[in-house]
Amino acid sequence: MLLQILLTFAILSLVAVGGANAVLPEMHRQLVEIRHWLDDATFSQLYALAQAAPGPNILVASVMGWHIAGPAGMAVATIGMLLPAAILAWVMAGLVQRLRGAKWLKPAQGGLVPIAIGLLLAAGVIMAQAASDYGRLPLAIVAASAVFVWRTSYSPLWVLAGGAALGLILL
C-alpha cells in the first residue's frame, strides 16, 4: 500500500509541469477515480485544507497521503511528490553550470523569463477567479493587494492580515 502511494505520487511528480495546480486534475483522476483512495468531497476538502496552510501548494500531496494512510502515508506521499522533481532540478542546475561559458546559454535561459512571468500571472488570475466565488468584495481585495505589492515594498503580511479581517467582517 505504502509502496503504491509512493509510486503514484512519484509519477504525479514527473508530470507536474507548472506545479501543484497543474497536476491537480491528474491527481484527482489517480486518487479518486482509479485508486478509490479518496472520495470526491474529501478530495476537495483536503485541497482546501492544504490551501489554508502556508507553504508550497504541492504539499496538498502530503495532506492526501495523511488521509489515505496516516503519518506514514504522508511521509511517502511527500517523498514521492518531491524527490523525483528535486533530482531533475539538481541535474538541470548542474547542466546549466557546466554550460556556463556557452554564449547561447544566457539568451536561451532569458527566453524562459516571459513564460515564467506569464504563468505566474496566470496563477494569480486563476486564484482571483476562485476567490470571486464570494462575490465582488474579494475582487476588490485582489486589486488592492496587487497594487500594494506592485507599488510598495512593505511586507505583504499586511495585505494578508487585511484580507483576513475584511473577509471575517464582510463576507
Binding site: 502556508p54 527566453g111 513564460i115
Partner: protein, 193 residues
C-alpha cells in the same frame, strides 16, 4: 532605472532561514514571497537571475519554487545548499499541515473560518498578480517577449490549456525569439540589446 546589481552570497544558515521564511509566510502559495525574500530582502540574486532560475523551475516538472530552491541552493553551496534550502521551505508548512490534518480528522471543517480564509485567498491572489507586475516593470522585456508573456497568461488562465502543453509550445518559441534577439539565431539578423 535599474540599480547596479549588488548581490550577496548567503551563508548556508541564511539559505535555510530565508527559505524557512518563504515557506512559513507563503499563504496561497510561495511564489510571491520567494521573489520578495530572494531579490528584495536578502539580495541573493538580481531580478533577472531570479527570473531565469524561476523559468527553469517552471519548465521542469514539480513545484516551481521548490525546483528553484534546489537550483539556488546548489548554486551557492552544492548539495548541502540544495538540501538546506529544500528543508527550509518545506519543514514549517509540513508541521502546520500535520497539525491541521489532526484537527481535521477530529473536528472536520470549521465553517466560521471560511470567510477569513476567502479574504486571505483573495489577498494572496493579488500578491501573485502584483509580483508578476513588479517583475515586468523591472526586467525591460523586448516587445516579442511581452507578447509571449501575454500569450502564456491567456492560454493558462483563460484558455485553461494544460500547463505542460503551454510550456511545450511557448517555451521553444520564446527561446528562439530570445536567441534571435541576441543575434545567435536566424543568421544573426537580431538586434543586440
Amino acid at each position: 532605472m535599474s540599480e547596479p546589481p549588488q548581490t550577496v552570497v548567503p551563508a548556508p544558515r541564511d539559505l535555510f532561514l530565508g527559505y524557512l521564511k518563504i515557506g512559513l509566510f507563503g499563504f496561497g502559495g510561495v511564489a510571491a514571497w520567494a521573489r520578495r525574500v530572494i531579490v528584495e530582502e536578502r539580495r541573493w540574486l538580481t531580478e533577472r537571475e531570479y527570473a531565469e532560475v524561476l523559468g527553469l523551475g517552471q519548465v521542469l516538472p514539480g513545484p516551481n519554487v521548490g525546483n528553484a530552491a534546489v537550483m539556488i541552493g546548489r548554486r551557492f553551496h552544492g548539495l548541502p545548499g540544495a538540501l538546506l534550502a529544500t528543508a527550509g521551505i518545506y519543514c514549517a508548512p509540513l508541521l502546520i499541515l500535520i497539525a491541521l490534518s489532526v484537527l481535521y480528522d477530529r473536528y472536520g471543517q470549521r465553517p466560521e473560518v471560511a470567510p477569513a480564509m476567502a479574504g486571505i485567498a483573495a489577498a494572496a491572489a493579488g500578491m501573485v498578480i502584483g509580483t508578476a507586475a513588479k517583475m515586468v516593470g523591472k526586467l525591460k522585456l523586448a516587445p516579442e517577449a511581452i507578447l509571449l508573456l501575454a500569450l502564456a497568461t491567456l492560454a493558462a488562465a483563460w484558455g485553461r490549456i494544460s500547463l505542460p502543453l503551454v510550456v511545450l509550445v511557448l517555451a521553444p518559441l520564446s527561446i528562439a525569439a530570445s536567441l534571435w534577439r541576441a543575434g545567435l539565431f536566424g543568421g544573426g539578423a537580431g538586434v543586440s540589446r
